[in-house]
Symmetry: C2
Subunit: 214 residues, 2 copies
DNA sequence: GTATGTGAACCACTTCACAGCA
DNA sequence: TGCTGTGAAGTGGTTCACATAC
């Protein structure tokens, strides 16, 4: 009886895991949903309900064991192994992604980099030789990857995503500013700081009006 | 009678605007909620309801005028003006943000860059001289900014955010991997690709299990 | 006494479905 | 006839509140 777990719940688990990591490093042994919630800006009930989808990890009257709960979450999310990623698009943005030091310590390894620009192909960055985008599909069949990172210009992004999907890649991190189409069994997350800014300006505009600054 | 507009609605408006931009560039004059929805993976009713919070922009039997609706959205979101931003943290990530070409064309201008590392202070990047982080507050009082971009290490991020809030900054784009605390009138959006990856692996793990690969 | 786990109540957003207008 | 705008119905996620366990 696998009850359907809401996507929003899954999106929160990594946030819990991150906080527990911090707590663990600071030597905390136990934490209550109350305290964790206060730290994260989430209600305690939210946390308890979220966790209850997966099991009963707490002890009444005490709270949750920090190392125990962290380990459970890591297992639930699949963070107890490495994941292989390929990057497509090695322009300014792509190079920043390659250089980004935040992936590897979390078990996310970029094992291939592709670009359509012949001027970039052959260059070596971080021990990775950039391959031609035309070889993406062949390369993926020989050496599969779990996740694709798309950092191409918007105009090429959908085609690249289609290629990834065609090769059986089921998770895509998309930095291109497009609303991509993928089949229902493929997961895609968009990273677009411009969209974030453009929604915040709505509220800024409102506050100016209230302040009478117009 | 200012009916409360859900945040999720505001988050979708920039996506609509982006699609309309594309349509306009391709010369389209009119678009229906049906077609726009198909392009964005959203139901037509969703789009119509979202827009209805702000007015009646369509024509029955025809659809929406692309230039007209785009202009309305730009006004609603406050995209019809420039917004000034300051960047705090000019490490690898911060430099990538400075170099990123996607902000300026959308009216988002970085007008100040700060870092705590004396080795970086004084360096010039993209016509911006990096200033010491200790001068952030003073600098903001002399030359206010609308938005703060935080790209410091996690350990310093909350303090920087407190400084920004203290200077009256009401919108923050946070690249640091922390759950920051801000007062209710301050808007914050987090950009953390690792969190996105860590939630996708949950589904990847599930698919492996189903496929029997373990 | 204290904090979890959870059905039930609540709330918010989404979708429906149709009246109304071009 | 075609598509918008929108109350009403539906759905899904959040919060409540309390029985339960330490």
């Amino acid at each position: 009886m696998p009850i359907e777990i809401p996507d929003v719940v899954i999106d929160r688990l990594p946030i819990y895991a991150r906080a527990l990591n911090l707590l663990q490093r600071s030597g905390r042994e136990v934490v209550s949903s109350q305290e964790l919630g206060a730290q994260l800006g989430v209600t305690p009930a939210q946390i308890r309900k979220d966790l209850s989808y997966f099991g009963r990890f707490g002890k009444q009257g005490r709270g949750y064991s920090v190392p125990r709960l962290l380990e459970e979450l890591r297992q639930i999310l699949g963070l107890d192994r490495d994941w292989l990623m390929v990057l497509i698009g090695v322009g300014q943005l792509g190079r920043a992604i390659l250089a980004y030091g935040g992936f590897a310590p979390q078990g996310f390894r970029i094992v291939g980099a592709f670009d359509a620009d012949p001027g970039l192909v052959g260059q070596e960055i971080n021990d990775l030789v950039i391959k031609p985008a035309s070889e993406l599909k062949l390369s993926l069949t020989q050496r599969p990857a779990d996740i694709g990172i798309v950092a191409t210009p918007a105009a090429h992004a959908q085609a690249v995503i289609d290629d990834l999907v065609g090769c059986g890649v089921k998770a895509i991190l998309n930095y291109a500013p497009i609303a991509a189409h993928v089949p229902p069994d493929v997961h895609i997350k968009d990273i677009d700081p411009v969209l974030s800014l453009q929604s915040m300006t709505f509220y800024l505009k409102g506050q100016l009006a209230v302040a009478g600054v117009k």
